[in-house]
Assembly symmetry: C2
Homo-oligomer: 294 residues x 2
């Protein structure tokens, strides 16, 4: 199976599982379930859940139920997009080429739908039935930390907001992005590895891999915001410069940013050495993250 076929198969696996986990549109109160599903099923690439599945594969042949854990990552990612797009934050009208949640359902419902997806992520993990309580607790602790204020996603968003208009600074840039995007990508692979029973050495290697792809992902995101059209991205392009965000191209220039992304990709590959062939999909995903066009 080539990578495209693998991605389609795993996307479908994730979407089937999300379908099962998220209350139906007909479940009361209907509006919030419609809002949650609208944003969840708006055509995301499911990068984070697929990283989780691929990391589990690198550790064990078969990890029944790991797709449930993987979905919680998509819930967290989607809640963060819904809240980020609100008028009070980035004020975006389009996401993945569709109207954003608050444009369709209003600000109040978008705030509550984000809260609900965040809550559902932890509910989902706590209620998994094919894995021990010990592993569930480790997974929940890692996900909560990666989503939180200290070195986690929310902390990165705050630092990013507060960095607007500040002089471009390499240290600040890396700390923002390590938290804002990197923490959730790193925890995606970590969760898959914990679920599959990785030992400490394996967890360290997987964590290193996650750090490198996390940084690579954000560098490429910043480059694409400069290079691509809004149509290709499915969201407003050029917003970083407009909002005076601290980005990799702003600090290092485009050429050096591209070189840095390549370097992170190579380091990511090196982190996978202990897994040899078992990490083939993770390795391909690192390439995909760096070479994507949207």
């Amino acid at each position: 199976m080539n990578l495209s076929e693998y991605l389609v198969r795993e996307q479908q696996r994730i979407e089937r599982e999300m379908e099962r986990l998220v209350p139906a549109e007909s479940a009361a109160p209907e509006t919030i379930h419609r809002a949650m599903r609208y944003s969840l099923f708006a055509g995301g690439k499911r990068i984070r859940p697929i990283l989780c599945l691929a990391a589990a594969e690198a550790i064990a042949d078969n990890s029944p139920g790991v797709e449930t854990a993987a979905c919680s990552l998509e819930f967290i990612h989607t809640y963060s997009l819904i809240h980020d797009d609100l008028p009070a934050l980035d004020n975006d009208d389009y996401r993945r080429g569709k109207l954003t949640c608050h444009k369709v359902f209003g600000d109040a419902m978008a705030i509550l739908a984000g809260d609900a997806l965040l809550t559902l992520a932890f509910e989902t993990l706590a209620k998994m039935d094919a894995v021990s309580a010990e592993r569930k607790i480790r997974i929940i602790a890692e996900l909560a930390t990666a989503s939180g204020t200290v070195g986690g996603m929310i902390g990165g968003q705050v630092a990013d907001l507060e960095g607007e208009g500040k002089p471009p600074d390499a240290g600040l840039l890396e700390s923002i992005h390590r938290a804002k995007t990197g923490a959730l990508l790193r925890v995606s692979v970590l969760m898959g590895a914990i679920y599959a029973g990785a030992d400490n050495g394996q967890l360290r290697a997987i964590s290193d891999f996650g750090e490198h792809i996390g940084l690579a992902f954000q560098i490429v995101d910043d480059i694409l915001d400069v290079e691509e059209s809004s149509q290709a991205l499915g969201k407003t392009a050029g917003k970083d410069a407009q909002q005076k965000k601290i980005t990799f191209p702003a600090v290092y220039g485009l050429d050096e940013s591209r070189r840095m992304a390549e370097q992170e990709r190579e380091r990511a590959h090196q982190s996978l050495a202990p897994f040899a062939d078992r990490a083939r999909r993770l390795s391909e995903l690192a390439d995909l993250i760096v070479h994507r066009k949207a």
Copy 2:
């Protein structure tokens, strides 16, 4: 020790523990930690955490670390207030007699501070060290369900928003409040009981108790919104009628609402029969909930 002394002691116990659990104002990014602490330490009565402590007492003489679990309830409660007060939702400028979070820190930071407290609740529970992984998982599953969309707090908020202006209906009223306020009060005592090692029979009794005080709490809240001044409440009074909310006084009138609150108080007491003297504090808390003036 009389009830007032007990409340002061337990409030202090909870506030010390929150002080330990929430990142310091000096921890980066500072703004969000200031916003989280501003709302957490704005003088709440800590009813939910104290219910959790008192429920643990009804089951076991000593439950080391139960105050950590109790704090997660205050994190959830406070996040829900911060988001509820936003202009897009209830648009309240005052809470507990102080400016609301978004009035001081802006809407963006209030949204993120709410998200962060919600996340911290689950991080805190997952990282508790004095209780088994099995009990932690049960506690997390119960709290997430009680906070979620199906019969939980968010579901109740949505139903409440959507009920505005609708004709007063007894069935809708009870389902809104059972979810909006009742679920979190019920889970407060349930979490304490699970933490302390309650058996299934004890859990059923505690859960019944929680349902009755949950309903009583909301009936009294609705009555106070009609009867008391904004100054006594520390928030805007009379907002329910102004927003055409479905409330107990609107459906049943004030006298009948008072009678219903009394009835729930009696039922709550009856639920505690199996615990005899061990449930003295729970019993007193039920009285306090019904007889409070703010």
